[in-house]
């Protein structure tokens, strides 16, 4: 299945060819953990991870056409 991935800030370096927004093919029944593994993002790296605009944990199952966004935790403003 195809999902859309967007990596911002410090996470850009994990993107293929450093393109911050890209399509990714995942095996069926993948979850967030699987996605991080494929992208070589260490689990312990502090992050805010959204699936379709909502926060998601490692076990969250992914569906075709999901939009996954990852950026560093922030504060301020």
């Amino acid at each position: 299945m195809d999902v859309q991935v967007k990596l911002y800030g410090l996470f850009k370096k994990y993107a293929p060819e450093e393109r911050q927004e890209f399509q990714l093919k995942l095996p069926p029944d993948s979850n967030v953990k699987k996605l991080l593994k494929i992208l070589n993002i260490p689990f312990e790296q502090e992050r805010t991870l959204l699936v379709n605009g909502q926060l998601a944990g490692l076990e969250r199952r992914l569906e075709s056409e999901d939009i996954i966004v990852i950026f560093s935790p922030m504060s301020g403003g």
């Binding site: 967007k6 410090l10 950026f71 560093s72 504060s75 301020g76 403003g77």
Partner: protein, 610 residues
């Protein structure tokens, strides 16, 4: 006294009499300082019904016991007065170097009253205060004023002043210190202008006395080491990209206010986010006194038509002048920010008022002939031109100078002003961050988040994430965040450091680190309970002022756009803000009646019964 200086300076501008007063140690302990001292004097000395521009209104500029101590971000002061924009109080806070220097000049707080017959400035040189003529400075912008005053007094002095906007009583005029730091909100600069006071110059000596200097130093080292370890692992976004880095979060959560709050995402967001600012215009970071974060941005723009140098923009500015106006031209936004700094204007209300005018034009309620120029969504040149006209009250700028509520009301559509208590909102959409709506509605200054910021638990995950779309349970947590914010504001600290590093995760963000700092600075030995009670006391004392000025539940409200119109798109699609449900829970948590009035039992508990 230790931590506190123990002295207040009173300046009557009508009679030009200046006198020193001892700070009552009980008042100091009960109200801490800063925001607490401000509301203590407002309640004691002015009638809440006072006309904000009358000589009877007073301005309190107050530092906290941790200002200037070397505690991280202990750099701040608070400006409190009755607001001409809202009719409620102001709580306008700034850092930089002026507040520390003001405290070193010999005073915890300055209380300004009356109205001078001609423009004056106040000069405090190491405990000696005098009023001097400012006739030659009237009409000058904040940078020229600062430069002239430093020449006239001492190059090592620090200056807080108003620009033409404050002189001309623009309802959202700021007081600028150290050139580009702003006590920006609710028109504090206009009240200063109404008093014919152009500037305050301070020159101090020595350092703040501490009750336990060795303990303080050791604890400080410990806190800073922990901070350094944490940022070595994950660099802090605030340091890397400034507050404008937050655009990444708000855009992707669907809470980036866009097109005068009609939408929650902005197509041009990449252009206005912190990374673009760093790449395009950043010269260097800048820190307030004793701050390890350095979120300040010194910038330079060379793009034709928008050339300039200065500080900014902050997140709030890129939302208000950027996405909210559909402007993705960061050079124009930054230029408008510079003009705000120079003329002395609040960037949030300025941007939000232009956005409101754009919608009035778009819907055909306001004609471009009235404005004297085209005003379409996305027009960066118009933003720059209108900002300048507003600061000088020229042409249509004279109407913009009254803020969005009065503008929209004049053209028959007050519902298009996105305000609470007539003050414009910072850049977090309550339909997708429910508690944010509660914070705007219940803030004593109207639309603001800095007096209790739910973005921490709804969008930043500090201390941990709460479901941003859920409204149940938000009343209690918002109260806890407002209480700790009152303590931070009273102590003289910056919220950006304190919530993350000086509060405990459990017990509703208990201010455990602040407690330690305060006790070692002052020696008064607060218990945690006493300190938390002081936070509640400050907020309830503010509420008493508002109640007497006529504010109650009906004023703790949000525009119908946010409570009745579901968000049309993005990750917050379909949501409205459930303000009424949250208000009930919030008042109950506070010990206020369902109409938003503190109960006699609560007043008794906090020692506020009259």
């Amino acid at each position: 006294m230790k931590g506190w200086v123990g002295k207040i300076l009173r300046v009557d501008l009508t009679t030009k009499k200046i006198k020193e007063e001892i700070l009552d140690p009980k008042v100091a302990k009960d109200y801490i300082g800063g925001r607490g001292l401000g509301i203590y004097y407002l309640n004691k000395e002015i009638d809440p019904g006072t006309d904000p521009f009358s000589p009877q209104n007073i301005i309190i500029m107050a530092t906290g016991p941790l200002t200037g101590t070397g505690a991280p971000t202990g750099a701040r002061y608070m400006v409190m007065t009755k607001s001409p924009l809202t009719g409620a109080i102001t709580c306008s806070n700034a850092g930089g170097r002026f507040p520390t220097e003001m405290k070193r000049s010999g005073y915890d707080a300055i209380v300004l009253s009356g109205r001078a017959a001609e423009p004056l400035y106040l000069y405090i040189d190491q405990g000696t205060a005098q009023l001097r003529s400012a006739v030659h400075l009237w009409g000058q912008d904040t940078h020229a004023t600062t430069d002239t005053l430093l020449q006239e007094t001492d190059p090592k002095a620090r200056v807080a002043c108003i620009g033409p906007a404050g002189e001309k009583l623009v309802l959202f005029a700021a007081i600028m210190n150290d050139r580009d730091r702003a006590a920006g909100r609710s028109g504090v600069g206009a009240v200063m202008g109404s008093k014919n006071l152009k500037a305050i110059v301070v020159k101090g000596k020595g350092s703040v006395q501490l009750a336990d200097p060795d303990g303080f130093k050791a604890f400080n080292k410990d806190i800073l080491n922990k901070y350094k370890e944490a940022v070595a692992k994950t660099p802090l976004g605030l340091t890397v990209n400034g507050t404008a880095g937050v655009v990444v979060a708000t855009q992707n959560f669907g809470v980036l206010p866009t097109k005068n709050w009609q939408l929650g995402t902005f197509e041009g967001w990449q252009e206005i986010q912190g990374e673009s600012l760093s790449k395009k215009f950043l010269v260097k970071n800048k820190a307030c006194y004793a701050c390890p974060i350095a979120c300040g941005r010194v910038t330079r723009v060379t793009e034709p038509g928008f050339e300039g140098e200065g500080e900014g923009p902050e997140y709030e500015t890129v939302y208000a002048m950027g996405s909210n106006c559909m402007i993705d031209n960061l050079a124009a936004i930054t230029k408008a920010n510079y003009i705000c700094n120079e003329l002395g204007l609040d960037t949030i209300t300025m941007g939000a008022t232009v956005a409101c005018a754009m919608e009035l034009v778009d819907r055909g309620y306001l004609s471009e002939d009235d404005i004297g120029r085209p005003l379409k969504w996305g027009d960066g040149e118009a933003l720059v031109a209108l900002t300048r006209m507003t600061g000088n009250r020229e042409g249509f700028g004279d109407l913009l100078a009254e803020g969005s509520y009065r503008l929209a009301e004049r053209y028959g559509h007050p519902e298009l002003a996105i305000v609470s208590k007539k003050q414009e909102f910072p850049g977090y959409e309550p339909r997708g961050a429910q508690a944010m709506g509660l914070a705007y509605a219940t803030s004593p200054i109207g639309g603001s988040h800095m007096r209790g910021d739910p973005a921490y638990f709804e969008l930043f995950g500090v201390p941990e994430f709460m479901d941003r779309l859920q409204w149940k349970g938000k009343g209690i947590v918002t109260k806890a965040f407002q209480d700790i914010s009152a303590i931070i504001d009273a102590a003289g600290l910056c919220i950006f450091f304190s919530i993350r590093n000086l509060a405990s995760k459990d017990l509703g963000v208990a201010p455990v680190g602040i407690l330690k700092y305060l006790n070692m600075a002052t020696g008064v030995n607060y218990t945690l309970e006493e300190l938390q009670k002081a936070g509640e006391r400050i907020i309830t004392a503010e509420r008493l002022f508002l109640n007497k000025a006529g504010f109650d539940r009906k004023d703790d409200s949000l525009p119908t756009r946010l409570t009745e119109k579901p968000m049309p798109e993005g990750p917050s699609k379909g949501m409205v803000c459930h303000i009424d449900e949250m208000l009930d829970e919030y008042y109950q948590a506070r010990g206020w009646t369902p109409n938003g009035i503190p109960t006699p039992e609560l007043l008794e508990k906090l020692g506020l019964h009259q």
